[in-house]
């Protein structure tokens, strides 16, 4: 049985207006379904053409340092996806106009069975890889078999999105079915398929390289741009793919991706001097300067990273007590912490769930809660009471505070050290280490408190509840456990009713607040800036920098 929302087999080229109309009609039909589920997915071509767009020109784009390897699936950093994704496509994608709505990509249509256990994708015909090979369902199967069940020695951070996927069955060369062992929320699954990380690569490429593409620089994709040349740690140059299936796209002839450290004055200077057309991950000082410049646009948007302090519950007895952990959480003035780094990196406050997710406590409500208030007096009083009740009214001495080498973490560590000392008489010794050592020390449990950042692929809590707060979660550096939470998280993962799920996520938030696994210091934001000659992209409503990364819709006004 086909999903009534996505079953219309009619094929047509749609205009922006007709597409929006269709969305509106479908949206009315599904009532309360979230916006990104309302896509009818009937178009052969993706629906974001700009009638004013001009062909030609070169886009010079500055983003992040060079990737450590070339395997996009195995990566967790924008170093890969920022540079490489213009060469690849995914099954579904997020509409670059809003960064939210899920629209067709290599799959022009999809059906979801009523029991939510079968996802069938109808693939485009006539699509070719850059090496001339035909794209078929076998390539999708090989790609997803690798993502779902990575071969030995391969680690794919997104595997956890597909834990419910049992079988991947090729129905015919242009139809493929994902069979789930149990249903998952539809928004979650479609979001996983639309993730920019899950690029489709050739089966032959994977077979030839034993499933490991870390050292393979130029493996063929089906994307709008083709590899031309690369200078390590400098620039990756791509040209327009003349055989792109999405006829007329991309608009620009050449894409130059410059590798520059994020939040660095170097990136800011390259943009402000006009050597880049578009800069991503700008430092706040350069970004503010760019905003004031005539002929420049700028946007700030949300990113999938939380900056957090972890408690080592295995090593430190006091930190095993939930009251002590909550007291430390309450003792930190989050607004001041955001302010401390305002010239280094853009941040915003948030709780234990992404503050911009529809199921999380709204910001206005969150700021009324202890731990997030603008006036910290009440929360500090409460923190003192909690320490007293736990038997640590005199404070704690000699906590080993492991700090990751980065300007933001060093600034925060000093501020946190002062706040804990002043409010709770908790004394910490700061120990700054390089990133590679931080993870080694954190994994070995050589710390009392530690500060770093953790990430997720999706905004949906089911993506990160297990990784961040799960019993054996790879990013649960606090070694935190709470049976009530773990059981609730499992149910949230399976709950397909959006309203029920939202209520459950709020319950989970309450548990995490009373028994904190970490202190959410702040949530990262992204600062982008571009000269107005760059048209077709405004990321202000995007979530993260991992989904809308292809540049096929962008055109140059002065081309």
């Amino acid at each position: 049985m086909a999903d009534p929302v996505a079953s219309n087999p009619r094929k047509s080229t749609v205009t922006r207006r007709s597409f929006l109309k269709t969305i509106g009609a479908a949206g009315a039909a599904v009532g309360t379904a979230p916006a990104f589920l309302r896509s009818t997915a009937e178009a052969q071509e993706t629906p974001f053409r700009d009638p004013a767009a001009k062909r030609g020109g070169t886009l010079r784009y500055g983003v992040h340092t060079a990737p450590a390897h070339f395997d996009v699936h195995q990566s967790g950093t924008v170093a890969n996806i920022g540079a490489q994704s213009p060469m690849y496509d995914t099954l579904l994608r997020r509409d670059p106009r809003d960064g939210q709505t899920i629209i067709p990509d290599l799959a022009f249509k999809w059906d979801v069975s009523p029991d939510g256990k079968k996802y069938t994708f109808h693939l485009r015909k006539g699509v070719k890889f850059h090496d001339g090979a035909d794209f078929t369902a076998q390539d999708v199967k090989a790609t997803y078999e690798r993502i779902v069940r990575p071969p030995k020695g391969v680690v794919i951070p997104r595997s956890s999105l597909f834990t419910a996927v049992g079988e991947i069955v090729v129905l015919d060369p242009h139809r493929i079915e994902f069979r789930l062992t149990e249903p998952r929320p539809r928004a979650f699954m479609l979001g996983a398929f639309a993730s920019g990380w899950n690029i489709i690569v050739r089966k032959k490429t994977l077979d030839d390289n034993q499933g490991n593409l870390r050292q393979i620089m130029n493996y063929p994709g089906t994307g709008p741009f083709r590899h031309v040349s690369r200078k390590d740690k400098e620039v990756w140059i791509m040209e327009r793919n003349p055989n792109y299936w999405n006829k007329g796209l991309p608009y620009v002839d050449k894409l130059e991706v410059y590798h520059m450290p994020p939040f660095s004055p170097e990136l800011g200077a390259a943009f402000l001097s006009g050597k880049l057309d578009y800069a991503r991950l700008m430092d706040p000082v350069s970004w503010r300067k760019a905003k004031e410049m005539p002929g420049v646009s700028a946007a700030a948007f949300n990113q999938s990273v939380v900056q957090a302090v972890f408690f080592n519950q295995k090593k430190n007895k006091a930190l095993q007590d939930a009251r002590v952990r909550r007291a430390l959480h309450l003792a930190l003035d989050k607004h001041v912490l955001v302010d401390v780094v305002k010239d280094t990196a853009p941040m915003q406050i948030g709780g234990m769930v992404y503050p911009f997710h529809e199921a999380s406590t709204p910001k206005a409500e969150l700021e009324k809660r202890l731990g997030y208030q603008r006036d910290p007096k009440a929360q500090i009083q409460e923190a003192k009471k909690l320490m007293q009740a736990a038997g640590y009214g005199q404070g704690l001495k000699n906590l080993d505070f492991l700090v990751r080498e980065a300007n933001t973490f060093k600034l925060w560590a000093v501020a946190i050290q002062a706040m804990l000392k002043e409010h709770l008489n908790v004394e910490c010794n700061l120990r700054v280490v390089q990133i590679s050592q931080w993870f080694e020390e954190a994994a070995a449990g050589n710390f009392d408190l530690a500060i770093s950042a953790i990430v997720s692929s999706l905004m949906d809590p089911s993506d990160y509840f297990e990784a961040w707060y799960g019993k054996n979660g790879p990013q649960n550096y606090s070694s935190w456990t709470n049976e009530q939470f773990h059981s609730l998280a499992r149910n949230i993962e399976r709950e397909v009713d959006d309203n029920k799920r939202k209520t459950m996520i709020r319950q989970a938030e309450d548990i995490l607040e009373s028994d904190p696994p970490l202190i959410p210091v702040s949530y990262e934001q992204i600062y982008d800036a571009w000269y107005n000659r760059v048209r077709g992209q405004n990321p202000k409503t995007y979530f993260g920098i991992y989904d809308v990364v292809r540049w096929d819709q962008v055109w140059m006004a002065q081309a």
Binding site: T65, P157, D232, A269, S273, F439
Partner: protein, 318 residues
């Protein structure tokens, strides 16, 4: 002379072997996991211990230290220099691509240091304790005291905010576009050259002051030789020996300083590659680049020693 050169070559080789051993051991005992940089934070956290071990084996980091060291020496002997842990690029290609830029910066810095340092030193010496001497000495102290990377940052920011200018953001080789290339190297070379020029000025001044008081200089003056000739033809050549010696040492500082200054100017030379490799814990790149810097330093010092005989016929090597 031949014996002397052989002896120097032998000592130089011994020094380089010592340096290689120190780099090799230090890089392997320092804490930090290169897999974090290779796999990313999330990937590293999710990797099973067995897979982690397999990857370390693939990178050659599970072998015993003597085996790893022998492999490195073999790579050097055949000119391969190994591959970066990341992206699979060879260190040889990295050096060939970025080395010319850093080499240009070093040579240009040395030229600037002599062009600025020597005249200033002479000026100070011929009118000691005058106003020109006071200004020269103050400036030389200033340039010695100011850190190069800080000065570099100030220059970059001043050019950007006052003139909206930034040097090219990728490597442009001298033979591809000399003007673009000049814009890349002149900033770091000037900052490094001025700092080294300050040392040279001070050294040239003190040596010249000493030589000018010698009997043969007085004799030259008594014979009616013009002052310019006295200074440039009679005094200066004899005052130059210590300046040349210090130039060899200063080249080492230029190489060391270029690491920070390239970073400040955003110039993608070898110094910057070294910084990135250290952050990424890319052991193969770090050990080869440090050894390369050491080899250049040793070679320059040997050349300086050899130049003594040419400059001062009284010096004969036994």
């Amino acid at each position: 002379m031949q014996k002397y050169l052989l002896r120097r070559a032998f000592f130089a080789l011994g020094t380089l072997i010592g340096v290689s051993l120190i780099i090799f051991v230090v890089l392997r005992i320092l804490p930090g996991d290169p897999l974090v940089a290779i796999l990313g934070v999330e990937g590293h956290a999710k990797m099973a211990p067995a897979d982690r071990e397999a990857l370390m084996r693939d990178l050659g980091l599970s072998d015993s230290l003597p085996v790893q060291y022998a492999r490195w020496m073999r790579d050097i002997a055949v000119g391969e220099l190994g591959k970066s842990f990341f992206r699979g690029d060879t260190v040889r290609d990295l050096i060939l691509h970025r080395g010319p830029l850093s080499g240009e910066i070093a040579i240009l810095a040395l030229i600037i240091s002599w062009l600025v340092g020597l005249p200033v030193g002479i000026l100070s010496a011929i009118r000691p304790n005058g106003w020109a001497d006071a200004v020269a000495r103050s400036l030389s102290v200033l340039f010695i005291a100011v850190p190069g990377f800080w000065l570099g940052l100030l220059i970059v920011l001043a050019l950007l905010f006052w003139f909206g200018y930034k040097a090219p953001i990728i490597i442009v080789q001298l033979w591809e576009d000399p003007w673009q290339n000049f814009q890349l190297v002149i900033g770091p070379a000037a900052v490094l050259g001025l700092a080294q020029g300050a040392y040279i000025a001070r050294m040239a001044r003190s040596c010249l002051l000493e030589v000018i008081r010698e009997d043969y200089v007085r004799t030259a003056r008594a014979k009616g030789t013009v002052e310019r000739s006295v200074v440039l033809r009679h005094a200066l050549p004899n005052a130059l020996l210590p300046v040349i010696t210090i130039s060899g040492v200063l080249l080492g500082f230029v190489l060391g300083g270029s690491v920070a200054v390239e970073q400040a100017f955003g110039v993608p030379g070898l110094g910057r590659a070294l910084v990135v490799a250290i952050v990424e814990r890319d052991i193969v790149v770090v050990q080869n680049l440090v050894l390369l810097y050491a080899a250049i330093f040793v070679l320059v010092n040997v050349l300086v020693d050899m130049s003594y005989a040419w400059l001062d016929p009284r010096i004969r090597y036994q």
